[in-house]
Amino acid sequence: MIPLSAALHHGEAGDPELLGWIMHRLDALISLDPATIVALLGLAVVAMPVAVLALYARHKRKALR
């Protein structure tokens, strides 16, 4: 047997079948269209570095004073 996953522990690839099951379950739970979900998740991803860099800029500004 060829291992494909040790999901969500140290960056290994997830089992495609299991991921398929989970996605199917998510589809059943969330009734939004895929484009909206992509926009929302994408926004969440982008917000993180923006927040970190904003804090960094604030620190830098204070340090220069």
Partner: protein, 434 residues
């Protein structure tokens, strides 16, 4: 002494933690979604799923084997350069994967290049640098970074899945690559700093060199087993105890991750129920790891580490002994809490015992033990399933190993070997190199 805080009173080290969290979130989380690409790529090229999964398998091994080497490079050149170089390679590799047209290309880029680069920008590198920023709150800080991986899986796997549905797998690889290049790389470039002393700060944001004791401030002396030569660590018990227990961690997590689907089918669980239980377990990872970090800083590491292994062992026993959905959900809840909780406790204890001089290579070696355990368990469980017709022996073996790992963790002499429990240095003693 300069101000110990950033603008709102927060220690700059927490900003380094936030940056490391995001890097872990994006790189590890993105990699968790590889399975989503298997079916569309297999459909387009007519490759077998086994051939595509070979890229993941090779990547699993190379990622594990390359950790100590990357750790050595970290010890020589520092985290910032290594993480930046790794992120650029990971981002470009993702872009290259969008142009995949041959299985060898996929194996080379995903299985080899990206896996080596992931080692450079990995949790180990982040843990090594964070260990310099934090002493008293080391486990908490490491736990936050470790939580980035499952958080990334929880968000990036669905994102990748919907992107593949909407735009296809090539565009999705490209989007993941662009996110690494244009979101993670700037964060690393601007925020990452090697050590607090670079900014005129002290670990944990202390405003003066500290006194001793686990409950109080950390002594600024050398860790009890710290040595100029990393090989010397193998002459002491904690290295073997930590690596051995972490081997069991890898063995037991990879076992269930790789064999969960056939196990669930064999036990007659519905797809929806199995997916819900596994999803819940992934979510509990985040809660468990954060809790372990906070408690580890408050109550010490090794007893908690033992508890985590015992808990996971108990989870495996419930899977064996309690039939049906109750067993599955009991396992998900108990094991979910413990799944990643080992990471901050093991890594923090390694740094506490062996110091910071060779932390990159030492945490890399401990991690390699984890990956070897994972690789062995996946193969062994497959063979045992073929021979015996069930997963029972594998589950029993996992439970027994976890109980052993628990006792091994308990036997670590933390009060003797951890810097947290050493008396403060006498006045006039030179401070520790951070």
């Amino acid at each position: 002494m300069t101000k110990p805080a950033i603008g709102n009173g927060m220690f700059y080290g927490w900003l380094v933690v936030a940056a490391s969290f995001f890097i872990s979130f994006l790189t590890v989380g993105g990699r968790n979604g590889f399975g989503l690409f298997v079916i569309p790529m297999s459909d387009e090229f007519g490759w077998s799923r086994g051939a595509i999964s070979l890229a993941a398998s090779i990547g699993f091994l190379i990622n594990g084997v390359s950790q100590p080497f990357m750790g050595r490079i970290y010890d020589r050149i520092g985290a910032r350069k290594l993480i930046l170089a790794s992120l650029v390679v990971i981002g470009l590799s993702n872009l290259l994967l969008a142009a995949t047209n041959h299985i060898i290309f996929l194996i080379l880029v995903f299985g080899v290049i990206m896996s080596v680069a992931l080692s450079g920008g990995s949790l180990n590198t982040a843990v090594a640098v964070i260990s310099k920023w934090f002493q008293r709150k080391r486990a908490t800080a490491v736990a936050v970074i470790a939580a980035g991986a499952p958080m990334g899986g929880l968000i990036l796997v669905p994102l990748s899945s919907y992107l593949i549905d909407l735009f296809g797998w090539r565009t999705t690889w490209a989007v993941l690559g662009l996110m690494v290049l244009f979101l993670a790389t700037p964060v690393a470039y601007f925020v990452m700093r090697e050590r607090p002393q670079e900014m005129g700060l002290l670990p944990d944001g202390d405003s003066e060199p500290a006194g001793g004791g686990a409950g109080g401030r950390m002594p600024p002396s050398k860790a009890p087993l710290e040595s100029d030569r990393w090989l010397a660590s193998f002459r002491s018990f904690p290295m073997w105890q930590l690596s051995g227990a972490y081997f069991v961690c890898g063995f037991t997590t990879a076992l269930i991750s790789a064999h969960f689907v056939p196990f669930a089918i064999e036990e007659g669980y519905s797809q929806a129920m199995a997916a819900a239980a596994f999803g819940a377990m992934s979510g509990l990872n985040v809660v468990g790891v954060l809790l372990a970090g906070a408690l580890g800083d408050r109550f010490g590491r090794k007893n908690l580490l033992a508890l985590v292994y015992f808990m996971r062992g108990g989870g495996y026993l419930t899977l064996l002994l309690i039939p049906g959905l109750l067993g599955l959900w009991s396992f998900s809840l108990v094991a979910g809490f413990s799944w990643i909780a080992t990471v901050p406790l093991t890594m923090a204890l390694t740094a506490d015992v062996y110091g910071l001089r060779n932390i990159g290579i030492l945490s890399g070696i401990v991690f390699t033990a984890h990956q070897i355990g994972g690789a062995i368990s996946v193969q062994l469980a497959g063979v045992l399933r073929d021979v015996t017709g069930s997963y029972d022996i594998s589950l029993m073996l996992a439970a027994a190993l976890l109980l052993t790992a628990g006792f091994v963790s308990l036997s670590i002499r933390e009060k003797r070997y951890s810097i947290r429990y050493q008396p403060p240095p006498a006045a006039g003693t030179a401070p520790q190199r951070a």
